[in-house]
Every structure is written in C-alpha cells, then in structure tokens.
Amino acid sequence: MKETAWLFLLPVYNKGQNPENRHVMDLAFGVYKLESAGISRDNIFIAIDGADYEKISEVIEQFTGSKHRIYSTDEIETLRSDATFCSNLVLFVFGHGHELGLSSYKIITPHVLLSEIQKSANIEKAVIYLGPCFSGIFNYLEISGQQKIIFVGSTKFYSSIASRATEQVAGGKKPSWIANFFLLGVFKWFSSPVDIDGDGRYTIMDSYKFVSIYSNSVYANIKKSDFPYLIQRIPMLHKKLVKLGKQYKRYRDGFEGCKALGWNRCVKFYEKLLNDTDLQIRTIKRSINENLEIDLFNIQESWVSDSTGALSTMYVTGSIQ
C-alpha cells in the first residue's frame, strides 16, 4: 500500500509573530483526532510559522499527549525530503485567508501552493482541505501533469466560520476555543468515515459531502442557539458599550490631569481603572462582532475542485489510495 503524508500547514501573516491560539488549537485537535484514528505519527508533518516554537509545541503536546517536530514554512525543502517515502499527500490548511491566497508573510497564492505540490515528484495524489476564508479562490485552477490534485474548500468567497466549542483531547482534558467547524468536520469524517453515496467505499467525495452537511448543520444550530442572545443581549451590550466609552473618557481625563500635576499615586489609580475599562470594552466589542458576523452576515458553502478525482480517491485507514 502506498504511504500518505498528512501535512498540517499554518502560515502566519507577520513574520516573527506567533499564530493565533485558536488556529494552533484547530491544528492540534486535528493531529490528535487523526492519531487517535490510527494514522501513524511518522506520517504526520506539521508546518507552522511563528516566533515562540516552545509555546506552540506545548499546545500541540497538550492536545495530542506527545511532542511533535514542527517545521517552519522556510523549511519546506527539509520537510519535502523527510516525506519522500510517501506517494500521496493530504494537506490541511489552517489560519487566515486573504483575497490573494493564504495569509502569510509571503502570500501563498493558489498558483504557488499548486506549484509547491507539483514540485514533489514523488506525490501521485494530493487532497487539500482549506479551512481559511475566501478559499474559493483555490478553485477553478488549471492543473496539468500526471498528478491528481483535489481541493476541498470550506467556503467560496465568504469568511470561513468558526464558533465556540469545547472538545475532549488527550488525557480527557477539555479546552474551549473558537473552532473552525469545516476543519472539525473533516477530522470527524477521517475519524469515523461515512459512505454517504453508498457505493461501498470511503472516498474523498464522501468526505466532501459529509463535511458540507456537517458545516451547515452546525451553522444552523449556532444560529438557533444564538438567536435569543442576538435579540436580547446585543441591544443591552450596545448600551453598556456607550456607558463604558464615556467612563473611559472620564478616567482618561483624570489620568491626564493627575499626570500634569505630577500626582503619581493618582496616576496609578486612574491607570488601573483605564486598563480595567479597556478590557471590558474589548470584551463587549468582540462579543457583538462575533455574533453579528457569525449569525447574520455569512454563508458557508463548501466545494470540491475535481469531482471525478474525489470519487476515485479512496480513504483506507492511514492513507488515501
């Protein structure tokens, strides 16, 4: 049986900065679920951009129960050489999308991603699951050559949706984070595949159909459960935000006044009040924005680039064939 490389990729927009925690958690959860489903850790490769690899590595260890080597995207050639024993590739893409590609300090355009896969001469089949926003720009590509390359995207030209979730990870721990539920659905299918079209095989087409239904069901659930919050809480939070804004201005005036007079104790007093109010304002703004963006102004519509390829590419535990 041909070996498959399972690659988890998380690029970051600003070089030298860490990725967002939630994206690392999405990735770590995927690694945990795939390992739990019987995929060998020797076939799992993780590429993340960041500054503090110790911190990133600890999150992954918390979720999976063991340490993993993390490559940076500058080490793609090393990764490619370490994975030459694999003939097939499944790539999961995390992080932010961009209207020109994947949000990275060197934007990964669809053409760049495709070329990188095509450069790996040992790869015969590649399936790419794209979690980020606007992943539809990776569709409708001209793919030449002998390799079979299939893209499955979370959404066409909308933001990708993430929502509050608490999931069980290694050792029974239960972290909560804002999880990308398209990718969660992909991991759910690989953990316990469903033959949706009933042809007696688990194919990439089944995974696409499954994750599409899963994403829409989760989204409908979120909308239903958030509805009372939207109509009751959001107007209340708006009022609170106005009040906190006025309060912040008063404290800032007090702070500036004390500073001008050189009253240091008074400066410290106002500084604490300002910091407290700042945290409350950010909390409420985030809460309002998350709910409005998720519940009102979005559509989640997954897609697959090559239906013939998706139908003929099978998943047999541990690998695609």
């Binding site: 900065q17 860490n18 967002e20 925690n21 939630r22 679920k33 500054a51 503090d52 911190k55 600890e58 999150v59 260890e61 918390q62 929502s163 509050r164 979730a165 608490t166 999931e167 069980q168 721990k173 239960k174 972290p175 909560s176 984070w177 804002i178 999880a179 539920f181 969660l184 991991f187 759910k188 469903v194 949706i196 499954f210 239904i213 899963y214 069901s217 989760v218 659930n221 604490k272 910091n275 407290d276 700042d278 945290l279 409350q280 950010r282 909390t283 409420i284 985030r286 809460s287 998350e290």
Partner: protein, 93 residues
C-alpha cells in the same frame, strides 16, 4: 537548572477573581479569550490577540503588556460558569 512548568489545562472557581467582570469570564469560558496562570508577580493574564492583561489576585487589571513577552503556564477556565458544547460530537448524519 530550573525546569520551566509546562502548559496544562485547569479550572478555578469564578469567585476567586471577584473584580474580573462576568462578561470577561464568559468570554474566557467560551474560548474567545484565553486566561493563563503566570508564575511571577501577577497570578493570571487574559490574552486578547497581541495584548495580555495582567491581573492581580482579585482579578483587577494591573498592567497591559505584549502577549509575546509573556511566560505562560496553565490555560484556565471557570468551573462554575457555562462552557460551549462539543461541535465534534454533534450528530448530523
């Protein structure tokens, strides 16, 4: 050599931080923000994007620093406030 403590996941009672607002506590439990235990002068930090709000022992914000400069320990949630449900376990088919 001092061995640094590794990140874990733990829960505390919300009453331990009486000065931290309930909105912030709920955002921590929902996973929008992350609260970490710290080893130094300030016992906890609430991390939002690149900013870290260092809390005193009652939960007041004592200082704001850059997240990158922080040496964090356990990830903390509140045991007596609601947490989101699992999306992974949602039966759809």
């Amino acid at each position: 050599m001092v061995q640094e403590k590794k990140m874990g996941i733990k829960e505390i009672q919300s009453g331990l931080l009486p000065k931290l607002s309930k909105d912030v506590k709920n955002s921590i439990n929902s996973g929008s923000f992350y609260m970490y235990e710290l080893a130094g002068k300030y016992p906890y930090a609430v991390v939002i994007d690149q900013k870290a709000y260092l809390l005193d022992k009652k939960g007041r914000v004592a200082k704001i620093v850059q997240n990158e400069d922080l040496q964090t320990e356990d990830l903390v949630y509140f045991s007596d406030l609601p947490r989101p449900k699992s999306l992974f376990d949602l039966a759809v088919i």
